[in-house]
Subunit: 339 residues, 4 copies
């Protein structure tokens, strides 16, 4: 129960530190006979990889994924799938001076008190690099859900630093400005999941909404999560907020509005699943900051490692992956009991 | 994995339907030798009970809790604790006419499609009545956390229908107005948890923030959750948002601000844990609504059951309970590996 | 993880002490629309109930089961099923003198050291009475497996005190003799499970054989478990022990022998599942025994509570129940991933 | 729940096929600050490695373990530990002709029916090679238990093919004879675990005996398991079998005999834990055997791969490892709730 496994039936057990030997995960419980190639996974990893543009960290990890078990002649066999990326381009010397101090709003202090020991190289296990495992596992879930159920994930950046994003150019310019100031910025990502069948999610503790919330809060820097109308819905009257049922032209029961965000009583109702995820600004900034060290002395910190001024562009595939893993797990759970 | 158990080491397995024989839960994993009386639990249950005032449902359940195992001579023995409240004052005839139709924004349709069968009496398992189990289990967690670690929970209503709440009178008046309109309204609850030691929470998938999010989304009608700065934080710059460390007059490392909401890298950092929970307006309203029935015919629904126009007043102890259960579970997990 | 839940998808969470309020369990994950009546469960409980004959404990518990949730109009709804029997005919005064001493080969000492507190009335949680919950949950599993898959359980006593049992009369006489000596005796039960489809069981850690072993060792007094050829097979050569495949007259692949006991590589192969369970003699005897008390003083113990001289007759439905729960759980697990 | 994880708090998630990329495991939940070197693990792996003598398979795997996460500067950090051995010396061509047939008493048929696909190279996931992961994880558990609690594991071969083993020479000669006959043989291993503190094990479903049983049945070829007096105890009277308590010269409560095998009511009582494990003869033999293929045709099988005529010599460290993992897990569980 040390918290490195996500899911009940589609189980992702992640491992790895930023500057250790490798990061990755074991995916257990995947149905057999699903075609999976390195490319299926690599193309999503490439979307989260740093070093892609002027607005992401220049760390040039290749993030080259290896599949070391569970696939035979291009197909899943039903046995655990080991997905692993070796760590390269490691510059622990960048971090040597950070080893005795606690960076503000990072996990340095909490890890050290919790475990009494800390791999300080690049944030160790708290590094964003561990989300590579989420994306790799998510690629498998997405492929299954797409082929089997036609489920699609549309995940996009909604606002950065409070500014609604309309174009990539606009976003890039905004982030560059902040980067040049030596600062960082947060934002929100919104997600739509289409074609989820009615019936996914358990009604009491493991509501689909609850597990999506947990999934998103498993991503570093997430501070808020909403389903459907979210916090705006808290200001509404029931008569406006209720999603009336009607029968559509295909003779299917649908809702006229979707304030529920596709989930009612914790269970998917067949409408689009709608959610929003809020990310705080990246904690690492180039600007000088005061903090304290192990000896409780005040020190001044000026970061020089390679970091993103804004996590949002790289977070899109991570959000997508966690949504896919969650829905995949609930599909298998529903199948076990009810299909 | 049918989703009726919450927690890994402090495990709450809930059961019961609104109009079945009983609702309650089994609490497994509670440390032994904790003094627990019926009163410890009953006093919290009384806070969530309907029928207390003009603004809550007139259903007059006594919610009389029975403890049927796990306590001997007033103390926990380390064995599972069965907490149970018999269902009385049941008026299933109130619901008979609802049996064939799907109430808007309720779980009627999703349950029926998921399971192919539905206990339609009072919402069955999707009834708010099941949260009685949350509160009963939470009372035990709260007592342990208070006695052992001095942890305190301050949970209160922040806004209702978009209006900040300053006094109970104000709130009562607002809800009465809405009730008279035959409508319902949502709102937000904010929570502060004080004296949580550094080190609770698992760093990757089972972050303390992630499990709090899941806990809150396990409550009916929850549509949003935030930790610390939440969605507001998404608009900030890192240089403003970072919580600088300093050494306080007791020689303890603290943070000057608390945008992190007491959790860094998924682990409690010793500051107050701050969170917000958003509730949608109650789905049951007296106003006429169109919906469809099993035969896909349009029908008009006029609710006559006993319901709350606003879930917030009764949700306060539920939020408190789920926060306590989550923190209790993480305390035991931390103890297992690290203490 | 306090060990009161068995199963992953068909989950039985048991509770209760011999002389507390009630014993029973919550069954979570049962598929919906299964017809279950009180009688379906009661008839198995009656088989394990004490007070039935000259050779079982005269304790006259009615073991009257109540179903308090999860069943609606005679059918499972997919929500948790609470099964509960109130404790009656309790004579804690029988046990008062046992409160400060440790009965040989009982759990008195281990509970007291583990938890620092012990419900000494009738053995508390270590009482055989808790197996009532196993039987109640097993009755549901058996019914599902029978209706859905045609699976049958044939469980019988093989030997008592080393003597092969051919007739009930013979057995009764043997146990009566031992009872009259104020002594107790052990024995073995063998089980055959018929019509298990090919494919149940997970191949590495959760082999069907491994989970059956665990299930049987969850029953008090069990000291040994064998699958198929068991310990006898350890003396054989591979050329004799291997179960050759052949194609039968129905064009099905079968094995000529069944030393494997119906499980190969941890997975059912469609042949009868064959197992044996060994029970030690009951620890409570009327004969005088020396032991020690809390103050580490030697004391003489002469039991006067109501006990069975031999656990075997009442253990048959318990073994059957645990086998059914295990197979049910693995059927749902297999269904989730592979069907 | 696909069965590749063992343990609740000390969790071993295994992966890998005989002829895939690698075999190994992720160990999650290990306490931090435990010194672990490659040597600590490698020395146990060397004990289970094939190719060591005339009586084990000549496959010359180096079984070179790599630690790719969770260890920093020679110490565990509390994060997941990835242990991995690349597969080398693979000769899948040895197995090509086995691809379409079902070897007697192997898992070929059951895997194929369960998953609809099968990695036939060297038995795939059902290969004994996967137990490398058990041994690697067990080495960590053993080290912790030894350093922290002084726990020792004494595991040895008791009999082979029904012949009690007194010397290694004797055993080697026996196995060589059988090997020359092109046959295989089974046997039993007995284990003693010393210095286990009182209190490990959960009293109802997760009895220490039950989890040890499950652990041993997780090893390929295991057909029987006994605790303490085992099946012999089933023939005894209670007055002989009961372990009387007394106070020893160190003023500790002990038992005069140990028919209980160190576990009472599912919980360790401080005496030596005693158990026996029965292994069937290896299924792969050189002798000709009839079997059937995918097309349900009878075929003759003459094995030519590299196999052990007797699994016992290599099984000793595997039994030791599974015992250590089980006790480690229960120690952490006990610590969480009770220490």
């Amino acid at each position: 129960m040390a918290g490195n496994t996500f899911g009940q039936l589609f189980r992702v057990t992640a491992f790895g530190e930023s500057h250790g030997g490798a990061v990755g995960c074991v995916v257990d419980g995947c149905p057999s006979k699903l075609s999976i190639s390195i490319d299926d996974i690599q193309k999503d990893l490439d979307r989260r990889r740093p070093g892609q543009s002027s607005i992401t960290s220049p760390r040039k990890e290749e993030d080259k994924i290896e599949i070391l078990s569970g696939i035979f002649e291009g197909k899943t066999t039903g046995t655990p799938i080991l997905l692993l990326a070796k760590n390269k381009d490691m510059k622990p010397e960048d971090y040597g001076k950070l080893k005795d101090l606690y960076r503000p709003s990072h996990a340095d202090l909490t890890y050290e008190v919790k475990y009494g020991i800390r791999d300080w190289r690049g944030g160790g296990r708290s590094s964003a690099r561990v989300t590579l495992a989420y994306v790799a596992a998510g690629a498998i879930a997405k492929k299954y859900l797409k082929e089997k159920l036609g489920i699609e994930f549309l995940i996009q950046i909604e606002q950065i630093g409070g500014i609604k994003i309309k174009t990539v150019q606009e976003m890039t310019k905004l982030i560059e400005t902040i980067k040049n100031e030596g600062d960082s910025v947060g934002g929100t990502i919104c997600g739509v999941v289409k074609n989820v069948p009615i019936g996914l999610g358990e009604p009491v503790f493991d509501k689909l909404s609850a597990d999506l919330a947990k999934a998103m809060f498993s991503i570093n820097a997430v501070k808020g999560f909403e389903i459907g109308s979210g916090f705006n819905g808290t200001k509404m009257r029931g008569s406006d907020h209720n999603d009336s049922f009607f029968v559509d032209s295909d003779n299917k029961i649908r809702t006229k509005t979707n304030f529920s965000g596709g989930i009612q009583g914790g269970i998917s109702n067949g409408e689009d699943i709608l959610f929003r995820v809020g990310f705080k600004p990246v904690a690492t900034i180039r600007k000088r900051q005061e903090t304290v060290d192990k000896n409780k002395k005040t020190v001044v910190l000026e970061a020089s490692g390679r970091h993103d001024p804004c996590v949002l562009p790289r977070a899109v595939p991570i959000v997508e992956a966690m949504a896919a893993i969650t829905i995949m797990d609930h599909y298998l759970r529903h199948k076990a009991q009810n299909l």
